[in-house]
C-alpha cells in the first residue's frame, strides 16, 4: 500500500505541476465568471420584464442555467481527466519517464492504481468544487438551489472516475496523441447519445430513446451526468418541471440506483483490463 501512496503522491505532484492544470484553472475562473454574468443577466431580464421572479420562473431559469454549468463542468473535467492520464503508460514509456519507476519493486498494478487514485481524486474534486461554485452563484444571484444539493456533483465526480479509468486503459495500448483523440471521441459519443435520448423523449421516438439509454449504459459517465441533471429538479412538479425536462440542460433522465454499482463494476473491469495489458507490455 505504501507503494501506491508513493506513486499517488508522485502523480498528484505531477498533476498540479502540469501546464494543463493551470490552463484548466484559468478556464474555470473564466467559465464561472461568465456563468455568473449570464445568471445575473438572465434573472435581471425576467425581473425587469415582470417586476418580480415567480417560483416557477426561478426553477426554470435556475435549473436550466445550472444544467448548462454542469455540462461545462463535465467538459472541463473531461479535459483534465484526459490530459492527466493520456500518456501514463505508453506515452511515459516512450519519453523514458516510466522505466525508472517500473523497475522498482512496487509493481505495475500498484503503479496503475496510484495513478488512477491521483488523477481520479484531482478530477473528482475539481468537478465537485466547480459544481458547488456554480450552485453558490445560482443561489446568490437567482435565489434558487437544486432539490438535491450534493447528488449532481457526486454524479459528475463518479463520471470522472470512469473517464480516468478509460483513459488509463487507452494509455496502455495507444500513444498519447491517439489516446487523447480516442477518449474525446468516446466522450463526444456519450454526449451525442444522451442528446439523442432526450430528442427521442421529446419526439416520443422509442428508437432514439433506446439508443440514448444504451449509450448511457455503455458509457456510464453520460448516465451519471443525466442522473445528476435529473436530481437538480427531483422534487419539482408542475409546469416548470415539464419545461425543464424539455430543455437541453434540464431534467434529463434518472437512470436509477443501479447505475452506481454498474459504473463501479464497469470501472473496475476497465481497471483490470488496463492492469492485464500493462503487465503484458514490453517497455
Amino acid at each position: 500500500m505504501s507503494g501506491v501512496a508513493t506513486v499517488m503522491g508522485y502523480a498528484l505532484r505531477e498533476s498540479l505541476r502540469r501546464r494543463v492544470f493551470v490552463i484548466v484553472l484559468i478556464l474555470t475562473v473564466c467559465f464561472l465568471a461568465l456563468y455568473a454574468l449570464a445568471a445575473r443577466e438572465a434573472f435581471s431580464e425576467v425581473t425587469e420584464f415582470r417586476g418580480v421572479v415567480d417560483e416557477q420562473e426561478r426553477i426554470l431559469f435556475g435549473a436550466t442555467l445550472l444544467g448548462l454549468a454542469m455540462f461545462g463542468t463535465l467538459f472541463l473535467g473531461a479535459v483534465l481527466a484526459v490530459f492527466l492520464t493520456l500518456g501514463v503508460v505508453r506515452g511515459d514509456a516512450e519519453r523514458g519517464l516510466l522505466q525508472p519507476l517500473v523497475v522498482r519493486p512496487i509493481g505495475r498494478v500498484q503503479l496503475l492504481v496510484g495513478r488512477f487514485l491521483a488523477a481520479g481524486a484531482v478530477c473528482a474534486l475539481y468537478v465537485f468544487a466547480v459544481y458547488l461554485a456554480a450552485v453558490a452563484i445560482t443561489d446568490a444571484i437567482g435565489g434558487w438551489s437544486p432539490d438535491r444539493l450534493l447528488l449532481p456533483g457526486v454524479s459528475l465526480a463518479g463520471g470522472m472516475l470512469f473517464l480516468v479509468a478509460v483513459s488509463l486503459l487507452g494509455s496502455v495500448f495507444l500513444s498519447a496523441t491517439a489516446n487523447g483523440i480516442a477518449i474525446f471521441m468516446v466522450f463526444g459519443a456519450g454526449l451525442v447519445g444522451g442528446l439523442l435520448g432526450q430528442l427521442g423523449e421529446g419526439l416520443q421516438s422509442p428508437t432514439l430513446e433506446d439508443i440514448g439509454r444504451n449509450v448511457s449504459w455503455a458509457l456510464p459517465f453520460e448516465a451519471l451526468y443525466q442522473s445528476g441533471l435529473s436530481a437538480l429538479t427531483e422534487d419539482t412538479v408542475g409546469f416548470a418541471k415539464i419545461v425543464v425536462n424539455l430543455g437541453p440542460f434540464g431534467g434529463a433522465r434518472d437512470m436509477g440506483a443501479g447505475i452506481w454499482p454498474w459504473t463501479a463494476a464497469y470501472t473496475a473491469l476497465v481497471g483490470v483490463l488496463a492492469a492485464v495489458g500493462f503487465a503484458r507490455r514490453d517497455l
Binding site: S2, G3, T6, Y10, R13, E14, R17, R95, G96, L97, Q99, P100, L101, V102, V103, R104, P105, I106, G107, R280, D282, L283
Partner: protein, 280 residues
C-alpha cells in the same frame, strides 16, 4: 550465494524478428561485466529482460536467485536506461527521496547525500532536473540506480552524454561499487572505457554472445617487440612466456637489450573481428 545475474538460453522474439537467440550469461557478485555489440545486437533487450521491463520469449533469467521481473529481483537491482528522463520539477535530492520510498530504503538524507557526493552532484542537490545539463542528469541517473544499495547494477550506455571528466568520474564510481561487492553490467559502445574498467567482456552479435572473457583473454597475442642496438625486432610467434628465453638468447649472443614489449590485439580489434561489419 547465487550469481547476481544468471541468464540461460534467453530468447526474445518481436513479431518475426528474433532479437535474442539463446543467450547465456552469468555475472558473479562484485563482477563488472561489459556488454558490447553493434546496435541491434540485443544488448538492451537482454538488460531489459533482467530488469523485468521486457518479457523473455524463452529461457530463464534470475537476479540474485529470484526470477527476473519478480518483486524480489527488482528489489535487488538498480537500473539506468539508455533513454531516460526524470520529471523536471524534482530537485536531485527529491528525486532520490522518491526512489528511496519506491525501494523502501531506510538510508534517509545521509544516503542521498552520499550518493550525490559519489557522482559529484552534492553541490546541486537542490537544483531541479530541468535546470541540469544532460551530463548532470546522467550522473543523477547513476545515483538513482544506486538508491537502496542494489546487488546488481544494470547500466545501459551510462556515459553517452558525459564529457571525459564525467566519464572518468563514472569509471571511479563503478570501481567503487564493484569493490563493495555490487555486480555491474555495463552496456556501452565505448570500447576503451569497457577495457579500462571491466573484469569481463561479452560481445554480442545478432542476438548471441559471440565472445566472452577477460579483456586479457580476448586480446589475441601479436608477438613480442625487442629493442636492441640493431633496432627493433618483432618476433611474431612469441608470447609473454617466451620473453625470458628470448632476452637470455640475445644477451648470451652479446646483443644489448634496451626494451621488450609484449604485443596483444586491442579490444577494438577483437570486437571488430567478432562482429565483422555488423552495424545498425
Amino acid at each position: 550465494m547465487p550469481p547476481a545475474l544468471l541468464a540461460q538460453r534467453i530468447e526474445k522474439r518481436y513479431g518475426r524478428t528474433l532479437a535474442l537467440r539463446g543467450v547465456d550469461l552469468e555475472v558473479a557478485e562484485g563482477e563488472l561485466v561489459g556488454l558490447l555489440g553493434p546496435n541491434g545486437a540485443g544488448k538492451s533487450t537482454l538488460v531489459k529482460i533482467a530488469c523485468g521491463l521486457v518479457r523473455a520469449s524463452g529461457g530463464r533469467a534470475d537476479v540474485c536467485g529470484s526470477p527476473a521481473g519478480s518483486a524480489a529481483a527488482r528489489a535487488s537491482l538498480g537500473y539506468l536506461a539508455e533513454l531516460f528522463r526524470f520529471p523536471g520539477w524534482y530537485s536531485a535530492d527529491e528525486l532520490l527521496e522518491l526512489h528511496q520510498r519506491l525501494t523502501r530504503s531506510t538510508g534517509g538524507a545521509a544516503e542521498r547525500l552520499e550518493l550525490l557526493r559519489l557522482v559529484g552532484l552534492d553541490a546541486a542537490r537542490h537544483t531541479r532536473v530541468e535546470a541540469m545539463s544532460k551530463g548532470m542528469q546522467q550522473r543523477l541517473g547513476i545515483a538513482q540506480a544506486l538508491v537502496g544499495g542494489p546487488r546488481l547494477l544494470l547500466l545501459d550506455e551510462p556515459t553517452s552524454a558525459l564529457d571525459p571528466v564525467g566519464r572518468r568520474l563514472v569509471r571511479s564510481v563503478l570501481e567503487g561499487v564493484r569493490n563493495r561487492g555490487v555486480a555491474v553490467v555495463l552496456n556501452s559502445h565505448l570500447l576503451g572505457e569497457v577495457e579500462l574498467v571491466c573484469d569481463r567482456v561479452a560481445i554480442m552479435r545478432d542476438g548471441l554472445i559471440v565472445a566472452d572473457g577477460t579483456p586479457a583473454e580476448l586480446a589475441r597475442p601479436r608477438g613480442v617487440e625487442i629493442d636492441t642496438d640493431a633496432g627493433t625486432e618483432l618476433v611474431p610467434a612469441a608470447r609473454r612466456d617466451d620473453v625470458p628465453r628470448l632476452v637470455a638468447e640475445l644477451v648470451g649472443r652479446g646483443t644489448p637489450v634496451y626494451g621488450v614489449r609484449v604485443l596483444a590485439g586491442t579490444l577494438e580489434e577483437v570486437y571488430l573481428e567478432a562482429v565483422g561489419e555488423a552495424t545498425s
